[in-house]
């Protein structure tokens, strides 16, 4: 069969997955007496209805891109970095900690921001390597290790917000005391949107693309991911490469967490990771681990996230609808891929 025809068939099956996902979600909506057409148009309106919303979509796009870039590295090495949520959180905590340290000092705020972001990357990397060490040296599967570390990071975060770093007066779910504006990453006009964040995620994308496509390191990671035993026999230092994969992913997750603090919330809030980590894993699966697709699919997911904000207000629907839609999308595309292999394999 010609390659172009195979590709067309692939796209057909993926579109089929998309249709099935929307069909499934429509059914769910009908089940709870909601109008699917209204819900979907509200999602669309909510995402692109005005410039503020479009800007918000890009605010969300940044961490999703960074996190997805990170998980592509661990996926390549055959690892399920489920601990990525915790890595984002720890990154945010480290960033907040550094800014707090310099709050009342004469140190140049620009330097503080840079330092705090570096600290965030360090924090994310540390948390990731911890999951890696558990996996490599103690055989604790990274799924369980990472998941446990996620819960610990969340507890640490909440402990800080309600404890050591609580607002003067009353601690609350709204987070720590916001930083003075000099410690904010400059934004574009009045939007919450920062060109620096966009720039950083684009750089991240390019780095990951070339790392995985063109470098010896990327190829060795791929070998480790495909068969750890064979890779070892061929002379690759496998556990070191696995830890490095965790490290790189942690740096990206930490950076995402840092940007949530310095560019978006300007403080530490309880759900600082916002589920972006898991979303990154889902997107990784959806795009079949191809770096080239990260930017557009992350944009799509970001738009759904922002669009979903209107749902509770207008239709009294839980915003979890977004998650259901994203999840069923990945699920049905994956299932259709399986159906395609079955159908084509039998020819």
């Amino acid at each position: 069969m010609k390659p172009s025809r195979t590709r067309n068939i692939s796209i057909l099956f993926q579109l089929g997955g998309l249709v099935l996902a929307f069909g499934f979600v429509s059914l769910i909506l009908l089940l709870i007496d909601a109008d699917p057409i209204q819900a979907f148009s509200l999602l669309w309106e909510g995402a692109v209805g005005n410039t503020t919303r479009i800007a918000s979509v890009f605010v969300v796009w940044v961490p999703i891109v960074l996190v997805t870039c990170g998980v592509l590295v661990t996926f390549t090495a055959g690892l399920w970095n489920i601990g990525i949520e915790g890595q984002i959180t720890i990154g945010a905590i480290f960033t907040t900690g550094v800014i707090r340290m310099f709050l009342d000092t004469p140190v140049n705020p620009v330097l503080v921001i840079i330092l705090s972001m570096l600290a965030g990357m360090l924090g994310g990397a540390l948390w990731a390597v911890l999951a890696g060490v558990l996996k490599v040296f103690s055989g604790v599967n990274e799924i369980f290790g990472g998941l446990g570390l996620n819960f610990i990071a969340t507890a640490l975060n909440i402990g800080l917000i309600f404890g050591a770093w609580s607002r003067p007066g009353v601690a609350s779910m709204s987070g720590t005391e916001p930083f003075p504006e000099v410690y904010w990453l400059p934004t574009f006009q009045n939007f919450r949107f920062s060109w620096y964040s966009i720039l950083l995620s684009v750089i991240g994308l390019v780095v990951i693309y070339f790392l995985l496509q063109g470098t010896h390191f990327g190829l060795r990671l791929k070998a480790v991911g495909k068969s750890i035993k064979s890779a070892f026999r061929l002379g690759i230092t496998t556990w070191q490469h696995m830890l490095l994969a965790f490290l790189v992913c942690g740096v990206f997750a930490g950076l995402a967490g840092a940007l949530q603090v310095v560019a978006v919330y300007h403080r530490l809030i309880p759900s600082i990771s916002s589920g972006y980590g898991f979303m990154g894993l889902m997107i990784g699966m959806l795009i079949n681990y191809q770096a080239i697709w990260v930017a557009p699919i992350a944009l799509f997911f970001a738009a759904l996230n922002i669009g979903g904000i209107q749902l509770p207000i207008v239709m009294k629907l839980d915003s979890a609808l977004t998650g259901v839609l994203q999840g069923s999308l990945v699920l049905f595309v994956l299932l259709m891929q399986g159906v395609k292999q079955r159908v084509l394999g039998k020819q």
Binding site: L219, K226, R233
Partner: protein
């Protein structure tokens, strides 16, 4: 039971594994299916035993065309098969293996069945402990268990796929005796093998397969040359290669003591000369694999020393061993040799010395892999994923990945599953390296191979290691007896003198 094959065809992808196979097997005889690796024997037998279905053609049992859809179906027709790798449950007890798959009843009733088991095995002189765990048995004993199980289920036709690989002479004799008993009981025994001598001794009639086709049927007594010619399409005379062993010591084991449950290997002393080939013989799990892995730095010895080129590498890791000139080719090529999913070019990239560079020079590695593909006659392109290569080509690729200037190459079953041409080619390439001073340590379950290519042989029996045997001074039968634990009394007596010599 009378078995008929009628126009059987089977394809695997592009490979035509069985081509228009037609022949009949009468009951009450031992019928041989002869052919080299890849000739299509196993495929045909898997079709007969219901494991796979033919693309076309039919199986006729006692004049009736039957559809055998699964192994369970096959056993209902009275056909049972022993697979080359025993299909049993290693972590379970013998008796549970025996029961599993038996129909009727809900509860496991061990007592009565143990009695039946013992009565049945007595008929054949087997002495299995029904409560032993299967992972403590030898391959030969696992075969015995499978034979008993299939007979108990009512098998009237017993297919055995390469049953004489990896078992001792004693076990082989026991097996052959049991098969003759079965033939006398009017059961049909189908004996699949690529070993002429076994077929000649045992079978009443053979069908020879080559490249998926039936090329002839011959009745006992057999003419060896005729069988060889049928098998290979021409007469092949294998020359024993000349030794190129030098005087320089390249590899040395001193008082090596290794523990790897359940095997303990004690006090191994050995010196290997440049260009020398050493074969490690023994039944599976007798300790040869443990020793080989210790030589590769993959198994840490409890005490003793491993010395490569005069340098003590004891306790160093595998990668240090590689750097110091040790090469290792494991048995399972796609599980721990090559990386499935990576292309040939990517393999050459990963193993090259250019690792410290950041970016991959794709043109360079493309031409490098084209050059290696040429040199090692691999049938494939630089962008062919290794898993789509044939077994022989995978083995050539694995060999081509080993650096040129090695002190020693360690191989597990270098020609397992390869056809004759590929095997010969593999050994030619290895001998070339020997001439350049590389020495070889290899494990093989094929005693012929061990005898033919080794300069000296180490025999293993449940963790005991013999003194090096000169391959010119030992024959197949002696070797077969030794791997089964016979003839070691002499060994023990000799041990002291040997130690005195090796320490001198």
């Amino acid at each position: 039971m009378k078995i008929g094959f009628n126009q059987i065809n089977k394809h695997f992808g592009e490979v035509h594994a069985n081509v228009d196979i037609n022949f009949n097997i009468q009951s009450g005889m031992i019928y041989g299916i002869l052919g080299e690796n890849g000739a299509g024997k196993s495929t045909l037998m898997k079709i007969l035993s219901g494991f796979i279905q033919p693309d076309s053609g039919e199986i006729v049992l006692d004049g009736r065309v039957v559809e055998i859809e699964s192994p369970a179906d096959a056993i209902k027709f009275g056909i049972g098969m022993l697979h080359q790798d025993p299909l049993d449950f290693p972590p379970m007890q013998v008796i549970d293996n025996f029961i599993a798959g038996q129909e009727g009843g809900l509860l496991l009733k061990h007592k009565g069945i143990i009695r039946e088991f013992k009565a049945l095995q007595e008929q054949f002189g087997f002495t299995l402990d029904p409560e032993a765990y299967v992972d403590t048995l030898t391959v030969g004993e696992r075969q015995q268990l499978e034979i008993l199980r299939l007979l108990w289920l009512g098998a009237r036709v017993l297919i055995l796929d390469e049953p004489t690989t990896g078992i001792s002479v004693q076990q082989k004799e026991k097996l052959f005796a049991a098969l003759r008993v079965l033939a006398q009981q009017e059961k049909t025994v189908v004996f699949v093998s690529h070993k002429l001598e076994d077929v000649e001794v045992l079978c009443d009639k053979v069908a020879v397969l080559r490249n998926g086709c039936l090329v002839g049927e011959v009745e006992s007594p057999f003419d060896t040359d005729q069988l060889v010619e049928l098998m290979f399409g021409k007469l092949i005379i294998l020359k024993d290669p000349e030794s190129v062993s030098g005087d320089e010591i390249v590899f040395e084991l001193q008082n090596l003591y290794i523990e790897q449950y359940p095997i303990t290997i004690e006090n191994v002393n050995f010196r290997l000369h440049a260009g020398e080939v050493i074969g490690l013989a023994g039944m599976e799990g007798s300790g040869q694999d443990v020793l080989l892995r210790a030589c590769a730095g993959l198994q840490r010895p409890v005490s003793g020393r491993v010395i490569v080129n005069g340098e003590d590498l004891t306790g160093k890791n595998y990668h240090e061993f590689i750097r110091k000139g040790v090469g290792f080719l494991p048995a399972s090529r796609l599980e721990e040799g090559l990386v499935p999913g990576l292309t040939l070019a990517e393999h050459f990239t990963v193993t090259s010395d250019e690792k410290q560079k950041l970016f991959i020079d794709k043109t360079y590695f493309r031409s490098l892999s084209e050059q290696m593909i040429d040199e090692y006659r691999i049938i494939g392109r630089p962008d062919t994923p290794v898993e789509s290569l044939s077994g022989g080509n995978q083995q050539r690729a694995a060999l081509s990945l080993l650096k040129d200037s090695l002190s020693i190459i360690l191989l597990e079953h270098p020609t397992r599953g390869l056809d004759m041409e590929s095997s010969i080619y593999m050994w030619d390439k290895l001998r070339e390296r020997c001439k350049r001073g590389t020495s070889i340590f290899f494990i093989s379950a094929d005693l012929d191979e061990v005898l033919r290519y080794s300069d000296r042989i180490l025999v293993f029996f449940s963790g005991r290691v013999s003194k090096p045997q000169d391959s010119a001074a030992i024959d197949l039968d002696q070797l077969g007896l030794m791997i089964g634990g016979k003839g070691w009394e002499q060994e023990i007596a000799n041990e002291e003198t040997y130690e005195a010599i090796s320490n001198a």
